[in-house]
């Protein structure tokens, strides 16, 4: 018996239903309510990409992380190791845990540029770019430009303002740092979860910097107020208690406090290695 092609009327509807389900699932996964929504994207390509650009941005940020580790991917558990094929592969593609340093970190910048081109609300990419430009690459002017661009796209994100404050502190522009820190405090926690540990750590950092700037301006009471807020967040920071007592007694900074100040100004910022459990070489 000869069979013709299938012409069931439900097939197109099944296709539509499947596409709708996939689209709805992706929308749930990809659109956690970014400011301005997808229409805020500039350029036809980015608008067409829609919320998928967040996924693209995240993938490109992973790529930047790979460059920070000199092309060595994350360690994953394997069923067997050390076969002669794996030994040969390790010789061809090294698996040491190293970090890019100095001028090498410049190689990360293109990927961060691609991240923010795909998703201008990916604040971490701006922060990492600004950090490397300000530290390893010693281009504070470019770091400031990056942060201005970040602020243009994310005007109410406290993390950008905190990074700006760090930059101003490094360049000893204390008045601008104070303004940035005050703005950061007003914006905190932005879109972050206020109960998240990192968000709380950030707030403590803002307050600590602000206290230091107050202290440098001779405003001891305001400085003490900031330190009290930090202690309320993290009571285990007993060194701040001692510092607070000295401030209340009208004493100047002790040797350890000077060291604290110095460490604050030279603090590396938000960049950290998520693979610290791996062996470093």
């Amino acid at each position: 018996m000869k069979r013709g092609p299938i012409h069931a009327p439900w097939i197109p509807w099944l296709g539509v239903l499947t596409l709708w389900t996939v689209g709805f699932s992706l929308a749930c996964r990809l659109a956690p309510g970014r400011p301005g929504g997808d229409l805020a994207a500039q350029g036809v390509a980015l608008r067409l990409l829609g919320s998928g650009r967040q996924a693209v941005g995240a993938a490109l940020f992973e790529r930047a992380d790979l460059y920070f580790h000199k092309g060595v991917p994350h360690k994953v558990r394997e069923a067997f190791t050390n076969t002669w094929l794996q030994q040969l592969e390790a010789e061809i593609s090294p698996r040491l845990h190293l970090h890019a340093a100095g001028g090498e970190v410049a190689e990360i910048l293109p990927w961060l540029r691609f991240v923010v081109a795909a998703d201008p609300h990916y604040v971490d990419a701006f922060l990492v770019a600004a950090h490397f430009l300000a530290t390893d690459l010693r281009r504070l002017d470019l770091a400031e430009q990056v942060l201005l661009e970040a602020q243009r796209h994310n005007p109410k994100d406290y993390r950008v303002l905190l990074e700006k404050a760090r930059l101003f502190l490094r360049t000893r522009r204390f008045e601008q740092a104070a303004n940035a820190l005050d703005a950061a405090l007003r914006c905190w926690p932005s879109a972050q979860d206020p109960a998240d540990r990192q968000t709380l750590l950030d707030k403590a950092e803002i307050l600590t910097y602000r206290a230091v700037v107050h202290e440098m301006g001779g405003e001891r009471a305001a400085a003490a107020g900031c330190f009290r807020q930090v202690l309320a967040l993290f009571p285990e920071r007993t060194h701040l208690q001692r510092r607070l007592e000295r401030l209340e007694h009208g004493e100047g900074p002790a040797g350890e406090d000077v060291e604290l100040l110095r460490s604050l100004f030279e603090r590396p910022g938000p960049v950290h290695c998520e693979r610290e459990s791996d062996e470093h070489s």
Partner: protein, 262 residues
């Protein structure tokens, strides 16, 4: 051996007549030029991303060129009917298969050298550089990968029509590129039956990642040990020989009938 050389030369002539290689070269140059012009927060002299995307493009183009060239060699001779004239020369089928493979390998390797030269030129123009020894090793090992890919393409084309052979060759080599290196990780979640299948795949398929020195070139790890390069070369030679042998086994008793060719 002279007849094998003549057959390889014919593959060269055919490639020079066709426009595939030139089109791919223009495409690569355009893409790399575009990539090199991206503004990087105002910071210049960075070439890692150009190398990265460029080397990926070179690998993809090399893959496409090797399989496309290898797969059409024997079926085209059959479709044109020139296979009868060739086999009547006398050229043995073993010489025919070997000549076609050798020609494909050499011509695609030559194309690879051009691709790498374009990439190197773009990188140098952008103010970057590559370690010469590492680059030489990368080109050589890539060429060994092409030897394996060409042999696989040729083996697929002995018993299938060109389209089917190309599809099968892409599936086989795509598996070797993408799945085989992941087998130790995939085994962590695989059941007993899937685990056995994955182990067979792991040891039976060629490990094409062994020929890939991109990480060393992009991230400045420097050249690999020469002993390692020699071992990988031997590994590639064994796999290429195996697939050429397979191609010959598939072709040696194939019957051709005028007017009913693949």
């Amino acid at each position: 051996m002279k007849r094998v050389g003549t057959l390889a030369g014919m593959v060269w002539l055919e490639m020079l007549r066709r426009k595939d290689l030139y089109v791919l070269l223009v495409l690569l140059s355009g893409a790399l030029g575009l990539l090199g012009s991206v503004d990087l927060f105002g910071f210049g002299g960075v070439t890692g991303h150009v190398k990265d995307v460029g080397l990926l493009a070179v690998w993809v183009l090399g893959w496409v060129l090797a399989l496309g060239t290898a797969v059409r060699q024997l079926p085209e001779e059959e479709q044109r009917g020139t296979i009868f004239a060739m086999l009547a020369k006398p050229v043995s089928r073993w010489e025919l298969v070997l000549g076609k493979w050798l020609g494909t390998w050499l011509v695609v390797s030559c194309g690879l050298v051009l691709f790498y030269a374009v990439l190197w030129a773009v990188v140098v123009l952008r103010g970057g550089g590559c370690q010469a020894v590492a680059m030489l090793q990368a080109v050589w090992l890539h060429s060994m990968a092409v030897a394996v890919l060409s042999a696989i393409g040729l083996a697929c084309a002995t018993r299938l029509n060109p389209d089917a052979a190309l599809a099968l060759a892409y599936v086989l080599t795509g598996t070797a590129f993408l799945i085989v290196p992941q087998v130790p990780r995939l085994l962590m979640r695989a059941g007993p039956a899937a685990g056995t299948a994955l182990m067979v795949l792991y040891f039976a398929c060629p490990h094409l990642e062994l020929f890939d020195l991109r990480q060393r070139l992009i991230h400045g790890w420097g050249p690999a040990r020469w002993r390692t390069v020699a071992e990988v070369t031997l590994y590639g030679a064994i796999f290429a020989a195996l697939f050429v042998l397979l191609a010959w086994l598939g072709y040696r008793r194939k019957r051709f009938v005028r007017g009913r060719l693949s």
